[in-house]
Symmetry: C2
Subunit: 430 residues, 2 copies
């Protein structure tokens, strides 16, 4: 066998191509953000997608109002570069790459040279993109880290981009928490989502290192049916209507108040481990009271169907609430949160098994499922979205006996890019 296996960095070739993207900020903002009533309808996966290729460019990033695909690969990275110009170079390169990948093209269009490492690792060659979307976010560390304004961007941090407080019950593992940048790759084909993040983290190598990742899946229920989570309940019956532009403008897209974030949104991503073995020993009636819905039908307690309005005031003959005071559905409902709503876009996750010493009788010890929910939500302002809703839920939700938030973070997802511009340009070229 002849020849040194260590080839030159094709990555460099790719990045130099990215330097050609310039241009002043265009009118890429969102439509005006008039308050609008949101409607209640599930965010469903599309079993028969209209198109295998979703448009990358536009006023908003894709993968947010997009009907959920069957698979997600989420990655958070730490910046290791010292300069804002490098961050801009990375976002330029990511934007170019994302436009190619979501169109089903290899990340590097260069000819295949046996004397060079392949520009694209190739595991999706011949596969359609299967509705691949790529969504990028900025973590708090882009604005300041350990009190240091390393990129001169501290003054650009929006008020709405508040630090997440420490919630009751949080057991955040550092290796699954935070990140200066994030990528959400979603596709109906897991290998496509994996491949996309693999190319993007390779491109990022001079500038950023992977901090944590989490893949996930959504069960392929038929259109019109709400998917079930691993607790066996329909999840997503009440959600912001992702196809209602007025609801999105009111609740999801940042408006004129946001400066460079106008047309963007804030993303919370949190892996939530569920004690499934424990849950499985609970009586059906208790499970239903905990969630606040019937397990099989998804109907509200006291209501008669899944999509009926919540009947939180319904009582039994003795005047007791049919939906317990601390039921999950009650604490999550807009009605009990002064109208607060978030666009949820979560996936189940399955990390195999790990050792657990149970906190419940009979206090078994052993390998248990490390599975649960990669909770993902989008909102116009986290202070009046996730933080407002979850501060109360983290204290009182009956479901907390079974779920533990083990990591995650809050990210500012900038507006989308028009052709010739790059994601985050409104911030990084300011």
């Amino acid at each position: 066998m002849s020849g040194c296996p260590f080839g030159g960095a094709t990555r460099r070739r790719f990045l130099s191509g990215a330097a050609g993207i310039t241009g002043a900020m265009g009118a890429a903002g969102a439509a005006s953000a008039k308050p609008a009533p949101s409607t209640h309808a599930p965010l469903k996966p599309t079993a028969a997608p209209d198109s295998a290729t979703l448009p990358f460019h536009g006023p908003h990033q894709q993968g947010i109002a997009t009907s959920q695909q069957a698979h997600v690969y989420f990655a958070a990275l730490d910046l290791i570069t010292e300069t804002k110009a490098d961050v801009a170079r990375l976002m330029q390169a990511w934007t170019l790459a994302a436009a190619r990948l979501t169109a089903g093209q290899p990340v590097d269009a260069a000819a295949e040279d046996p004397g060079q490492p392949p520009g694209d690792s190739g595991e999706v060659s011949g596969l359609p993109p299967a509705r691949l979307t790529l969504t990028f976010g900025f973590g708090p560390g882009l604005f300041s880290k350990d009190g240091h304004d390393r990129y001169g961007l501290a003054g650009m941090r929006p008020q709405a981009f508040a630090d997440l407080p420490r919630f009751v019950g949080d057991q955040l593992v550092p290796e699954r928490t935070g990140g200066d940048l994030c990528i959400q790759a979603c596709s109906d084909e897991p290998q496509v989502a994996f491949h996309a993040v693999r190319q993007l983290t390779r491109i990022a190598q001079p500038y950023a290192r992977t901090r944590w990742v989490q893949n996930g899946f959504l069960a392929g229920y038929a259109p019109g049916e709400t998917p079930r989570n691993l607790m066996g309940f329909k999840d997503g019956t009440l959600n912001v209507a992702a196809k209602d532009p007025r609801a999105l403008d009111q609740l999801v897209w940042v408006g004129d108040e946001g400066g460079w974030m106008k047309g963007g949104t804030y993303m919370v991503a949190r892996p939530i481990r569920i004690a499934l073995e424990h849950w499985d020993t609970m009586k059906l009636g208790f499970q239903e009271q905990t969630v606040g819905r019937h397990k099989r039908s998804g109907a509200t307690l006291g209501g008669d169907s899944e999509f009926a309005p919540l009947a939180l005031d319904a009582v039994d003959k003795e005047g007791n609430s049919l939906t317990p005071e601390n039921a999950h559905v009650r604490l999550a409902a807009p009605e009990t949160n002064e109208g607060a709503q978030i666009l949820r876009r979560s996936y189940s996750y399955d990390n195999g098994v790990s050792f657990v010493a149970e906190r419940w009788p009979p206090w078994r010890q052993g390998m248990e499922l490390d599975a649960g929910l990669l909770f993902v939500c989008y909102q116009r302002d986290p202070r009046t979205g996730f933080i407002k809703i979850f501060e109360r839920m983290s204290k009182f939700d009956m479901l907390n006996q079974f779920v533990t938030h083990v990591g995650g973070g809050l990210f500012a997802a900038p507006p989308g890019a028009q052709p010739g511009r790059y994601i985050g340009q409104e911030l990084l070229s300011a």
Copy 2:
């Protein structure tokens, strides 16, 4: 909220139902095992499956000659019971449950009683089984553990069920290695495979504890196309033809020599981590020489198409082999292994990232992909199958620079069960 959340064990109800299965061993063996030439054709996933429900009962277990589904959930368990009767009870219960699950039914048909834990966790309610197959295997520990013949079965251990030797390069982690029992769940829907193993391990709780699990996926290439693995190469071009009964009888199904294993087969399952970041820096020509095929087309080196016969003797003008002496394809080929062949049925796996100190320049340290291949193969005799082939490959395969076997085991998968009988009955009722 009233009522104690700790319900009674529905599991017990289920197991007592299983006790009704009895009956003498029937003529459930395989067809006669005449040697037959195997043909070369890929084992492909079916993009448009003939049927969402695959038959559970039959002379052979399902999930072996079955066209590969898109997802796998593999689990290995340690027996904790002291008696052979309990092992038989477990296999009875698993067989009953597997017949229900693969037919798309909840694992427990009992009525839903609010005062009892649900018999089935419910996360596939309303989902089709999506070609779910369940395949069971026995590990060496069923026959003796730490030198102790705990179930009186040591004398029943077949000669062919040899211990796997320690191969060159093995870095087997105890928490991902071994197991007295295994379950391979495959489905086109990941939530269905997950659900099946969750129900089966719940049923097993009095008798066995989960030791390790690994999920995996196979890219959804069109029928007739060989799927690509995470190295970006087509994987499975040369394989035992799973639709050729003569090849299966010769190479996969145990014949008259096997006693209670007649109609069964031996399964090797090994998670193989691939240094993908390292691989991605290799020149395309080196990648192709390592594998022994062209990356894009899958054609052999010196051959002109993917399905052309291997041209291992082809040389260039100077008389050098076009396919290097240590190329993966050469060392794996039946031609260089005295005809030895195995039925491969592997999946890619993706366990996120973990910390790696690289063994190659520039010796980076950081979070790298914990991804690779859940290698799975089936064979009539591991001594002339996997062990024979891999002993040489583990020493010489150029691919070994990039792959590490991190766990796994060898399992005896008994013959299939006819209705009224259970998997493993030939051994456990002897």
